[in-house]
């Protein structure tokens, strides 16, 4: 059963098409790679799928409780509540807040205590705060950051910030997770740990994961299927073996003459 279906998706900025006529269909539980040269429109595609940009043309449909629902042009928080979460290429943590608060904030959509009950600190407020804290700590344990719970996010080393962003994304309780260059700036050791982490969370939280990555060894080793984007168009799709030998992909990466 497909969880995400994209048809004819196009985004124009002025006269320029950053994404044009993209079609994708993604099944429940897949781990998809999205690759392409710099400026190919990968992040723009993520931004369209998560509601940061409105599509110029085309449709995006998400499986919500077994029914395909159009989410194109919906606001990011609405899409997030339908079970889509993400990380950012340039890390957008709440830098001045603690690691724990970063995760607690992302649990917001499950909060049931109203504003007035919170102001009056009714018993339900205390109970829910306890639960949120416990769940947040569990998630931090998953990404091995529980010891840093009270540190400020900005004080974490780079690799841990990326892991915190993943934990924060998981806190929204997603079905689909978009990871935008999760291994960027990591050393081989950290990349290996990340690969393991991605596998773990995918199984544990029954996720469908779509990731943008430039580290080809990572992509080829963990992704079941790969989409290749160049100049805003999908130029290839297939399993890692097919992509590695695809002539158009090699051309896109190395230039026409190669």
């Amino acid at each position: 059963m497909s969880v995400l279906k994209v048809s004819g998706l196009t985004k124009n900025f002025g006269g320029l098409s950053a994404v044009s006529n993209v079609n994708m269909e993604i099944e429940q539980g897949e781990l998809i790679g999205l690759i392409g040269p710099n400026g190919a429109g990968k992040t723009t595609l993520f931004n369209l799928l998560t509601g940061v940009y409105d599509p110029s043309e085309g449709t995006i449909e998400l499986n919500v409780d077994g029914k395909m629902t159009s989410i194109g042009g919906k606001k990011p928080y609405v899409i997030s509540r339908l079970g889509v979460s993400r990380t950012f290429q340039n890390i957008r943590l709440f830098k001045e807040l603690t690691v724990l608060d970063n995760v607690r904030i992302a649990m917001h959509q499950s909060v049931k205590t109203g504003v007035i009950a919170s102001i009056l600190r009714l018993p339900c407020y205390y109970k829910e705060e306890e639960e949120i804290k416990k769940r947040a700590m569990d998630l931090l344990k998953t990404v091995n950051l529980d010891e840093h719970a009270m540190d400020l996010a900005k004080n974490l080393p780079y690799g841990k910030q990326r892991r915190l962003e993943i934990a924060r994304a998981l806190a929204t309780d997603p079905k689909i997770l978009f990871l935008d260059e999760p291994a960027a700036g990591m050393n081989p050791q950290e990349t290996a740990e990340l690969t393991q982490l991605i596998h773990d969370i995918k199984d544990r939280f029954h996720l469908t994961i779509i990731l943008i990555e430039h580290d080809m060894s990572l992509v080829m080793s963990i992704c079941e299927r790969i989409y290749v984007l160049d100049y805003g168009r999908l130029i290839a799709r297939g399993n890692p073996e097919q992509i590695k030998t695809n002539k158009r992909v090699i051309e896109a990466y190395l230039g026409e003459d190669a």
């Binding site: 992040t43 940061v52 950012f88």
Partner: protein, 292 residues
């Protein structure tokens, strides 16, 4: 119709003054993204310098205008050096609050030195009224138009045709890139403050001549209105500030003339809010969106 034309002329006179002040706002904002809240007070200081030059030194209108422009340019550069320069990399809110502090300081300082009361600006030239049909134009108004248009043409020339003008435009597009290309960014910022403040100084003298009375708080409201004019035209865009200045001046005069002067300020604020909601980049501006 006569009344309309008459209001139009009065509106253009007031608008000239707003436009001159708005130019300083827009240039400074364009270059360092600061709402220089103290800019209206520079205009007030310009009026006071003109007042001192004409009454204490007994000089005429032209020397008063020039001395006031030079004086304000120096004051503007000094303020930038002392108060704003240390804040180049601070948040905009920090910079805005600093500007508010400078504004308080200038207002209270002038009150202390020159007295808090109203001073009468002398008649520096014979004021005659010329009739064009049934529409009256005073010599003062003609002088205001002539000075304003001369200064605007000079500014256009400076920004578009000279080396320093090119450097100013470069810094306003991308300060860091300009620095890498060998532009002395600090000098350009100083120069921008000097030019903007000189224009405000000229406006101060003109308003002294026009209304005959000046006081230490006279810069507050016109300062805000000139800022609104700059926003209206598209902040950072020089022709926008001119357009906005004339527009706000005319609207204000029309509301006072046909409606009630009690509401004229409210109408200006409503224009501000409408433009911010409908086209926040201003009439001549382009909308941009944050990159994710």
């Amino acid at each position: 119709m006569t009344q309309f034309l008459q209001q139009m002329i009065n509106g253009l006179s007031l608008g000239s003054i707003y436009a001159l002040v708005a130019l300083g706002y827009t240039m400074v904002y364009g270059i360092i993204k600061l709402i220089n809240f103290a800019h209206g007070d520079i205009y007030m200081l310009g009026a006071y310098i003109g007042f001192i030059v004409t009454t204490k030194l007994g000089l005429g209108f032209v020397p008063a205008l020039l001395i006031s422009m030079v004086g304000c340019a120096i004051i503007g550069m000094t303020i930038e050096r002392i108060a704003y320069k240390p804040l180049r990399h601070a948040t905009r809110i920090t910079a805005l609050i600093t500007a508010i502090g400078v504004s308080y300081f200038l207002e209270a300082g002038t009150q202390r030195v020159m007295g808090a009361g109203v001073q009468t600006f002398p008649n520096v030239f014979v004021n005659e009224t010329i009739m064009l049909g049934n529409v009256r134009i005073s010599t003062q108004q003609i002088v205001i138009f002539v000075v304003t248009i001369t200064l605007m043409v000079a500014l256009q020339f400076l920004v578009n045709k000279t080396k320093i003008g090119r450097a100013m435009r470069a810094v306003s597009v991308d300060g860091d890139a300009a620095r890498l290309m060998g532009v002395n960014v600090n000098a350009v910022i100083s120069f921008t403050f000097a030019i903007g403040s000189a224009l405000a100084g000229a406006a101060g003298v003109l308003v002294g001549v026009y209304y005959n009375s000046i006081n230490p708080l006279m810069g507050m409201l016109p300062g805000i209105k000139a800022f609104i004019a700059a926003v209206f035209g598209g902040i950072g865009i020089i022709p926008g500030a001119m357009l906005g200045g004339f527009f706000i001046g005319i609207v204000e005069t029309m509301v006072a003339g046909y409606g009630s002067s009690l509401w004229k300020d409210a109408v200006v604020y409503i224009i501000l809010i409408l433009i911010l909601i409908i086209k926040p980049a201003g009439l001549l501006g382009k909308n941009t969106k944050e990159k994710v």
